[in-house]
């Protein structure tokens, strides 16, 4: 939809204030690929780029050598794309996008199907583009990849945006708390419960205690109090929720809510 390939059933899209559904001029300054990048297998990588450069007009064709160099395909440019590996096609997709000198790069699952080395190279490439000042919009189900590459995230659920903002803010909102293990959990529980700035005290799923802290100072004070009480600390660590945890919390939580009214309806029917 953002690239004008699919018509929205509702709503609209604007890229730099222009509607991609009405004209390709809206894609000026925008490049990227949807799913796997696709090329003519019977043409070489170079000729494919020449074709796309011609379709872009302007000086796009003159950028081909630089784009091939950036993605590391200069030495295979004259081979037919039909003989390219999946990773090479992904890199050619990036090269094709670079011909447009985009301000915004849309990448849909760029590392899907790549081997570990290919994934690493792709991530390095994306980091490099970002470092050059390009905005990269990455769509991915590989949450580790998102966590590693992105500074802002949007989580989409059932066609709606469940969260949009910085990754740091999302993690901060989700909290995470601390995990505490001591030589005597009963003593530790009593001490922690009495400590100012400590809340949400619970038994940990895998032993120990979990709690939320108002501040780092509150955690430090708890540490001191525990030592004085004789409960020796064996582990005191912040529990940081992963993006995967947050994703499921945001997407599955709503599913639970959606399911919840059904029994109520059933009761009314009865």
């Amino acid at each position: 939809m953002m690239l004008g390939l699919i018509r929205p059933t509702a709503g609209s899209v604007r890229l730099f204030g222009r509607d991609p559904q009405t004209t390709v001029a809206a894609l000026e300054g925008v490049a990227g690929f949807v799913e796997a990048p696709s090329f003519y297998p019977y043409l070489s990588g170079l000729v494919n780029l020449e074709l796309l450069g011609s379709f872009d007009g302007g000086e796009a064709k003159q950028r081909i050598p630089e784009a091939l160099e950036t993605v590391g395909l200069s030495d295979r440019a004259k081979d037919k794309v039909g003989a390219y590996s999946h990773g090479m096609r992904q890199r050619l997709g990036i090269a094709a996008a670079l011909l447009r000198q985009p301000r915004l790069m849309l990448l849909d699952e760029p590392a899907t199907g790549l081997d570990p080395a290919g994934m690493r190279d792709m991530r390095d490439l994306i980091r490099g583009l970002s470092a050059q000042g390009m905005t990269v919009l990455l769509s991915s189900h590989l949450l580790g990849e998102v966590e590693e590459l992105c500074n802002r995230v949007a989580i989409v659920r059932k066609g709606g945006v469940a969260y949009q903002g910085s990754l740091a803010e999302l993690k901060r909102q989700a909290g995470g708390g601390y995990l505490l293990r001591t030589s005597d959990d009963d003593v530790a529980r009593r001490v922690a419960a009495a400590q100012a700035g400590i809340s949400e005290l619970r038994a940990g799923v895998e032993g120990g205690l979990t709690f939320d802290a108002e501040s780092d100072a509150a955690v430090g004070a708890l540490s001191l109090a525990l030592t004085e009480s004789g409960a020796l600390i064996t582990e005191l660590s912040p529990r940081q929720a992963s993006l995967e945890d947050l994703f499921f919390k945001l997407t599955e939580g709503e599913a639970d809510k959606a399911a919840a009214p059904q029994p109520q309806l059933a009761e009314r029917a009865a």
């Binding site: 018509r7 390709v24 001029a25 019977y42 074709l51 094709a96």
Partner: protein, 272 residues
């Protein structure tokens, strides 16, 4: 400056030049006349049952005309359908539509470039057949006068002009087939289905023509227009079938082309 239809057209031709199926069609267009002439020379007989058949050993000018009679209904439509049925469907097969439609070209320009390339290929196939048939025919039977369908003798040079005029008129139904192939290619998104569908359409129209009681439909069938070129081989030239071919074929071609364009412009382009 943004690229236009001409840029896309040139690239469509380059893509056609890089594909084997193009050479399959053009190869057939070139080889069939050669095989036909070789068979005539080796056997020493004439296909007397068809018009101009009895002159194949008298003048090379008869060769392209006999080939048109033999190949008008299926061979040239098949050669045309090979590319017309594939030109959009191959983009679906390679999933390359999303690649080109996210560049600085509008959809209608892409469609126009494809349509022009399809027509160019169809014209090239007919011209190739004409050139090869004439060269092979003249080498085998000489460059002599020919007897028209009206029984009058036409000089070799005048006959040569009439042969090319006939091939030109035959292009009218062939370009119509190209439009139908383009429609099927856009609709089916599958090359094989579009190619077979185009050929089946051409043959089915011919079958309608042989059904009893439907004689009144004959002037309006596409298959009838395949023979409109014979109007040039009469003295004086019979323009009626030629003019009719022009407007009857437009009734087939223009809606097909418009429907293909509409589908192409409005379709969602998403991966499978």
């Amino acid at each position: 400056m943004n690229p236009g239809t001409l840029t896309i057209y040139r690239w469509e031709l380059r893509k056609l030049r890089a594909q084997k199926r193009t050479y399959l069609g053009l190869g057939a267009a070139a080889l069939v006349p050669i095989i036909f002439v070789v068979a005539l020379v080796v056997q020493g007989e004439s296909p007397n049952e068809v018009a101009f058949g009895k002159y194949v050993h008298d003048t090379g000018l008869a060769i392209p005309l006999v080939l048109l009679l033999f190949g008008a209904v299926w061979m040239f439509p098949l050669i045309t359908a090979l590319v017309a049925g594939d030109i959009v469907a191959s983009e679906d097969r390679n999933q390359t539509l999303k690649t080109i439609l996210t560049r600085s070209v509008e959809r209608h320009q892409v469609f126009a470039g494809k349509a022009l390339a399809t027509f160019t290929y169809a014209i090239a196939a007919i011209v190739l057949t004409g050139v090869v048939a004439l060269v092979a025919g003249i080498m085998a039977s000489g460059f002599d006068s020919i007897i028209s369908l009206s029984g009058t003798r036409v000089s070799a040079m005048e006959g040569l002009g009439l042969v090319w005029a006939s091939l030109g008129v035959y292009l009218i139904p062939i370009l119509t087939v190209a439009c139908i192939g383009l429609l099927f290619s856009t609709l089916f998104r599958n090359s094989a289905a579009a190619i077979v569908g185009t050929l089946m359409f051409s043959l089915l129209i011919q079958l309608i023509g042989i059904l009893p009681g439907l004689e009144s439909l004959h002037p309006y069938l596409l298959s009838t227009q395949y023979n409109a070129w014979q109007g040039f081989l009469r003295s004086p030239v019979d323009w009626d079938p030629i003019v009719r071919a022009a407007w009857v074929c437009s009734l087939y071609a223009l809606p097909a082309l418009a429907a293909a364009a509409l589908v192409f412009l409005r379709r969602d382009v998403a991966g499978d």
